[in-house]
């Protein structure tokens, strides 16, 4: 029991964050031959959703990340990548979305 308490205290103090990257999806290279990369800019957007005890009723954080990405570019967005990951915690976790792309202003 003493060993358990010591281990628990150690883990609590150190934090011991753990993460899980679920997948990364990449697409949108179809018209790449026509793109002048010197005029293109990298854009990215991130969003998070805090979940406590598994109680979550929507996935609007995905739409938020998407909208943030669109707001950064008035032109076309090529080479889009979307990553979904989770940061684990004590009785709660954080879902994260990262969307990146190459913006070509019109």
């Amino acid at each position: 029991m003493k060993i358990l308490s010591v281990c628990f205290a150690y883990l609590l103090l150190t934090g011991c964050a753990s993460h899980s990257v679920h997948f990364v999806h990449v697409d949108g290279f179809e018209d790449a031959a026509d793109i002048d990369l010197s005029e293109a800019i990298y854009i990215e957007s991130r969003s998070e959703q805090q979940v406590v005890l598994g109680l979550v009723f929507d996935t609007t954080y995905v739409d938020q990340a998407y909208q943030n990405l669109l707001n950064q570019c008035d032109g076309e967005i090529h080479a889009v990548s979307s990553q979904y990951s989770t940061t684990h915690g004590i009785l709660q976790w954080t879902n994260k979305i990262l969307m990146k792309g190459v913006c070509l202003e019109s």
Binding site: S18, H22, F23, D27, L37
Partner: protein, 143 residues
């Protein structure tokens, strides 16, 4: 008895498995040029801490001949598992940024950016409670 226990744990650790979690295949255009395969793989060491805690506590209990320590093995594992709740793909890693530079790496391998046949793959190689979590993007560069 000790040799059998050590041998059992060693066999778990030494036997490796591969796992495929997610795959997406994009359009493949073979009509506009010669295709050269390219691949970007980002990996990170991962460890199932609750399993390691359970196994190591049980092993310590066996080696020290202490049933009291062995009894606490499962409890310790469950406690650690509760401290890392949430959706998982594979074993948890200590870093969630290892796969963020995928686009940049693709452009390094194919500077024109003229890419087709994109395959987004999430896989891992497991060695008992330890694994290598891999995000791999394979494609063809059109010349």
């Amino acid at each position: 008895m000790h040799r059998i226990t050590v041998g059992f744990f060693a066999s778990i650790v030494l036997t490796s498995c591969a796992r495929l979690d997610h795959i997406h295949i994009s359009d493949i255009d073979q009509s506009t040029g010669i295709l050269t395969p390219i691949s970007v793989a980002m990996n990170e060491q991962a460890i199932e801490t609750s399993e390691v805690a359970t196994l190591s506590t049980a092993l310590v209990g066996v080696l020290l001949d202490s049933p009291k320590i062995s009894e606490n093995a499962d409890e310790l594992g469950d406690l650690i598992h509760l401290m890392h709740l949430g959706p998982r793909t594979g074993n948890p890693t200590s870093n969630d940024r290892y796969a963020e530079n995928v686009l940049e790496q693709l452009y390094i391998q194919c500077p024109s950016g003229n890419i087709t046949g994109l395959r987004s793959i999430r896989e891992s190689t497991t060695y008992g409670p330890v694994s290598g979590e891999i995000v791999r993007i394979a494609a063809f560069c059109i010349h």
